[in-house]
Symmetry: C2
Subunit: 455 residues, 2 copies
């Protein structure tokens, strides 16, 4: 039987992709193994926590128990959070329950509870979402590691007022934040709402297997124990020193070599599954925010980081492929493939006398889907556009758990190869301070003055 | 009163953005006016048709009449099409009726008919969508200019079978295709379904104001006459020789100069409105497929084309901004701003004793939204990241009509400045042929052999 998760990269080698590809020795296995050792130290010292998350079965059990009780009592789940506090749950919802708006259960009805992610402060969207929900049949999950994120608190204050008495002391609101500090912690305690905690050594974009991802996932009926089981498989694989088995490390090497040696400044994630479209946006944050850095750990200016681009197969063959085939040679393309579709559909044998229909009738729709992915990979390779492929046997909680955790390891290893810190985000601080200034927060008057006159 | 549509680019000039910005003389106004003349010729000769679409009031009236009758009889609209045959309608739906899944009408219920875009051949999604619809209460709009698009026909054959007798000779199925050729034309005639035609000189990505965009839009209750009114405003503006008024031309110049003189190979469209998130994906096709070309019109290999990236403000400040601020200097950022929100929400004065809440209470949510956009622009500019801004007074049919048409003119003018043909897509042919080969279509056996053994 084929392994659940596979990673292949022969189309990124010069033997297949020509001069824009790399040779196996460009991968520098010695540096790769040193990266594993360096990252292992940061984990063993307790500095970085994400690899330990799947081991915490106790928290998962507590979350599952809490969610099982609440789930049946609500029609809607409002997730109030932004960035790493929203993208993991959204990605899991799309993967397990299907993309919006066509999301249906086996009975043809939308699955309950419906997930609405309030991760933007666009007032029309917040108002529209609240208009469609009943406060007595809605669970609210508010997530902010720091406990002070402006967008999350502003939205939550509006949601809290909308809930009125329905939220008083009821377990219908659940907060996820730091265990020791922050205003959200204080508020949740004051309101006597259930609380789950993000470990201090787990950053937002690496938190999908902490309560940040697990609480909303469990409320949606996703099997979080299986997610963690998959993530533990990824841990095993990712600490391996056998480079052909350690997909996370191979992928990190490949990205680093294609970027630094072949100037592939863009990574297109071409997801050939509508179920992985949310995951592409989750990955976009993981990769961009982790590797996009001005200085390396020695303090030298490096301005690193591939720009991740989310593309959907086959859809974006009719939108972006022209550019990927013929435009600048600044891209690597990473295919995300799913070998077994969730359901099968047969194309009926109708309109047989029309040339454009005849050859399709009687085939499976997934045959067309697969043929297009194979054809696109082959065409890109023939045009000297290096590409690689993650392939999942199917999409369920175990395979997703493994895939997400492997991608987190890939990111951590890549941080070591680039010599940058993959776990901070210093570049967003200035914007935050300027926002505080404009909003009249005390202590930021200086920043307000800088912006005087702008609109 | 401020004009409805504004374009500003001082943050892309070296005076604001430093050495990564350009100087006004880099814009080369003489070349720009020559581009207008050259493009005008292609329109006047009948080669390129999109500028004429808004003048066709007769087709719009026929579409409106057809849609007004059908609309009340259905709960769902299935749009079967891909690329330029889907993205325009999707963008208009999100802009006018709001993003999924929070889309609600004034009564808190989802608006009818619901739009489900079947633009991927992922069998699970097609099956799930059909499971949630009633064939007797569903309109189907099938769109393919060539009439032979494999994905569209395969999906439509499945949808046709699902509809059964509900589709027989009923105006519940409507087809949009070429007036003279193609299998979809034959099928629609045979089935006696209503037909609307795409002019032969209008390509998919420039077809939103042809029946391709107008038929589904009208079925959703969008005012297509107002869309065309806005597009006519854009026409006026875009043929102007006053470069400060001709936003499409200025924007084309700016993109071209930042790409060719400052190596900005990526354009981030940072849409500060959830209502414009669909439009960002529509634009992504327009820009990528038009400018991403291997050869120029003299036949020389040029490999041009910025990679368009869709980002959502403020959400992606917590996902992508770190990279834009600190990563490689290979990007220009184009803000899409909306000055007046659709509705207003006030942040309540609660939790006042918490520092992270106190300064927010009593403010409007749109104040926070606007402050973050201003702060992000200022921070990027301070970091030497050139940016520009489209600003819409509000989002309605007229402003969207103007904005979309201006972006099409921008693309056409940019094609002239790059010296490439913005209206073809030769790069996707190989993949299509390989797909036909794999699917066993007659005449493509050679292509099948090439791919033997791949999986």
């Amino acid at each position: 039987m084929a392994a659940e998760l596979q990673f292949t990269y022969q189309n990124a080698l010069s033997t297949n992709a020509g001069t824009d590809g790399i040779s196996p020795k460009d991968l520098n296995d010695k540096a790769a193994l040193a990266a594993v050792d360096a990252f292992r130290q940061r984990v063993d010292s307790g500095e970085i926590g994400f690899p330990m998350l799947p081991e915490d079965r106790r928290t998962a059990a507590a979350i599952a128990e809490f969610a099982d009780e609440l789930r049946g009592q609500v029609d809607d789940l409002l997730l109030v959070g932004i960035g790493g506090s929203a993208l993991g749950a959204y990605a899991l919802d799309v993967a397990i329950r299907g993309p919006h708006p066509a999301q249906t259960s086996s009975n043809g009805k939308p699955p309950r509870p419906r997930l609405i992610v309030l991760d933007n402060v666009d007032p029309g969207v917040v108002a529209s979402a609240l208009a469609g929900c009943n406060p007595r049949r809605t669970a609210v999950c508010v997530i902010a590691k720091s406990g002070s994120t402006a967008e999350t608190l502003a939205t939550f204050m509006i949601v809290r007022e909308w809930m009125g008495n329905a939220a008083k002391g009821k377990p219908r609101v659940v907060a996820v934040t730091d265990a020791k500090k922050g205003d959200l912690l204080g508020i949740a305690k004051e309101e006597r709402w259930p609380l789950f905690f993000v470990p201090a050594n787990v950053g937002g974009r690496f938190s999908v297997f902490s309560p940040v991802g697990l609480v909303p996932a469990a409320l949606l009926g996703i099997d979080i124990r299986k997610l963690l089981k998959g993530a533990r498989l990824a841990n095993q694989r990712s600490w391996s020193r056998d480079l052909e088995q350690n997909f996370a490390l191979r992928s990190a090497q490949l990205h680093h070599a294609l970027d630094t040696m072949r100037n592939k400044k863009t990574e297109v994630v071409f997801a050939y599954s509508s179920y992985l479209w949310g995951a592409a946006f989750w990955y976009r944050q993981l990769w961009a925010e982790s590797i996009g850095k001005r200085v390396n750990r020695a303090g030298a200016v490096v301005e690193t980081g591939q720009t991740p681009v989310a593309a959907l197969g086959v859809t974006d063959q009719h939108s972006q492929l022209q550019l990927y085939m013929e435009g600048p040679r600044d891209k690597m393309i990473t295919f995300w493939d799913v070998r077994k579709p969730r359901v099968e559909l047969k194309i009926p044998k109708i309109y047989t006398r029309y040339d454009s229909c005849g050859y399709l009738g009687g085939k499976k729709l997934s045959d067309l889907f697969r043929a297009e992915r194979i054809a696109t990979e082959a065409a890109l390779t023939a045009n000297g556009r290096p590409n690689c492929r993650w392939s999942l046997s199917h999409v369920d909680e175990v395979t997703l758990g493994e895939f997400f955790q492997v991608l987190e390891f890939q990111t951590a290893f890549a941080g070591e190869l680039y010599g940058i810190d993959a776990f901070d985000q210093p570049g967003v601080e200035l914007g935050k301070k300027l926002t505080y200034g404009l909003m009249g927060r005390k202590g930021f008057e200086e920043h307000a003055r800088e912006l005087k006159g702008l609109k």
